[in-house]
């Protein structure tokens, strides 16, 4: 409910711009027209949202597992960490947008390349934030592990991991906000369904109202994901 006021403000601003500039509907459709388009295409938008949502959730889960796995492996095997760090950084220098067409070429038009793009977008922030969290354990707590001669695994299990859970939550929240960008990027390059596909098609046919409707559904999807990860985040912090 706290979100209602800023949303209403944005819609009012939007309507004001339309009214004041007299922009034609194919450039900036008024809010009511978008609402109308959303109602007329409710079925299409719902099925597209389900496709994109599925890609995003699959990408988040896979990218999350992969990111956490790499972060943990780098902590448990420091030599592996030294090897992986530059590679990870390098992987971030490659723009996913540039890679998406190649992935489509390799993996086809189905959901797989979209999930891969999402994994690539999600993986790095999560792995790096979680890894930093695992390495930022207060020295005094690590002293307890050293005194007990705990070894790397028990030190990880009993001291590092519990201390790093808040950063895992923060990483997940960031990942959830980025994940839809990954899926839509994948759809943009080549798809036959999904919100990105709807946007692209609507744009090509100058159906700006449907484009905006799809965009709003995507934003809603992101907000739902964000709320879900915030819930997980609070769980991890308490």
């Amino acid at each position: 409910m706290r979100a209602a006021a800023p949303i209403l403000l944005l819609v009012a601003l939007w309507q004001a711009v339309v009214s004041l500039t007299g922009a034609p509907a194919f450039i900036l459709p008024p809010p009511l027209m978008v609402l109308q388009a959303a109602r007329d295409n409710a079925g299409l938008l719902a099925s597209s949202a389900a496709v994109t949502g599925g890609e995003v959730v699959a990408g988040l889960i896979l990218g999350g597992l992969f990111g956490c796995g790499v972060a943990v492996a780098m902590v448990l095997a420091p030599s592996l960490g030294r090897l992986l760090r530059p590679i990870l950084l390098l992987s971030q220098a490659i723009p996913v947008f540039a890679l998406a067409p190649v992935l489509t070429l390799w993996l086809g038009y189905g959901m797989v390349p979209k999930i891969v793009v999402t994994v690539m977008i999600v993986f790095f922030p999560l792995a790096s934030v979680f890894h930093d969290g695992l390495m930022a354990t207060p020295e005094g707590l690590l002293d307890l592990g050293r005194l007990a001669r705990a070894g790397r695994w028990r030190e990880f299990r009993r001291i590092r991991l519990p201390s790093a859970l808040p950063s895992l939550g923060a990483g997940l929240t960031v990942a959830a906000v980025y994940a839809p960008i990954g899926a839509v990027t994948g759809e943009w390059v080549g798809a036959s369904q999904g919100l990105g596909y709807v946007m692209l098609m609507a744009n090509a046919r100058t159906h700006a109202d449907l484009m905006f409707a799809a965009l709003i559904v995507l934003v809603a999807l992101t907000l739902v994901l964000y709320a879900a990860t915030r819930w997980i985040d609070r769980r991890l912090k308490s």
């Binding site: 207060p138 707590l141 307890l144 050293r146 005194l147 705990a150 028990r154 519990p162």
Partner: protein, 234 residues
């Protein structure tokens, strides 16, 4: 009771290129040895060397210490997500042992925390948290106990209560207390050692049972001596 295994540190240490201390020979007797000195004199380094913890200093010499060592620092070092009970059991878990719950319960009761076993550190006062840390140290049942200013963050009433509790609980062990507070050193030390400006020396301590009271004969005189040495050193 058999005498606990020896604990001794002999040698010299450097911090970077500069010497931290040289010719140190600290052989801990059974009972409390208090090591005082100004900040940065290396007294915590001495304690950490004995504990086998990383120090950042380069040390040359010999360290004799038993396998099991109990340790308390100025910070309580409690894990925030564990209950008081689980924090007391942490050492055993870190060793991969099944925690002895009955013993943990009785130690928490002994440190005055009966009924608070299921509380997390955030729901305890500073004094209570340091009691949990003491119970955790006692849980180790170690012949050597290393205390790095564990009482200095407490208010004076709590500090004295904790000191008295620790004296009773740690009887029969070798205890090294690092402190910057001369009163605490005189109150608790069977031996008082000073580490300052790279030099290590033993000062006079009050004879008899600890904790000593301020009204005991010689307390004021020893306080004056210790303070004079400390001020010389700075």
């Amino acid at each position: 009771m058999n005498s606990p295994p020896p604990a001794r540190l002999q040698g010299a240490a450097w911090l970077g290129a500069g010497p931290l201390f040289a010719g140190l020979d600290l052989d801990l007797p059974v009972g409390w040895t208090c090591l005082i000195g100004p900040s940065g004199s290396g007294k915590s380094t001495v304690l950490r060397l004995l504990a086998g913890l990383p120090t950042g200093a380069r040390f040359e010499g010999t360290i004799t210490a038993p396998d099991r060592i109990a340790y308390m620092a100025q910070a309580d070092l409690l894990l925030p997500r564990l209950t008081a009970m689980q924090n007391v059991e942490l050492g055993q878990r870190l060793r991969g042992l099944k925690p002895d719950r009955a013993r943990a319960t009785s130690l928490l009761a002994r440190t005055g925390l009966a009924g608070l076993e299921r509380r997390r550190p955030a729901a305890l006062s500073g004094g209570q948290r340091q009691r949990v840390a003491l119970a955790r140290a006692l849980m180790e049942d170690a012949p050597l106990v290393l205390l790095d200013e564990p009482f200095s963050a407490l208010d004076s009433a709590n500090r004295q209560r904790m000191q008295d509790l620790a004296v009773t609980a740690l009887a029969g062990r070798r205890v090294l207390l690092v402190t910057h507070d001369p009163l605490e050193a005189i109150r608790l030390g069977k031996r008082i050692c000073l580490l300052a400006a790279g030099r290590f020396m033993e000062l006079e301590a009050l004879p008899g049972r600890i904790p000593h009271g301020a009204q005991e004969a010689g307390f004021g005189r020893i306080y004056e001596t210790v303070m004079a040495r400390l001020m010389e050193a700075e």
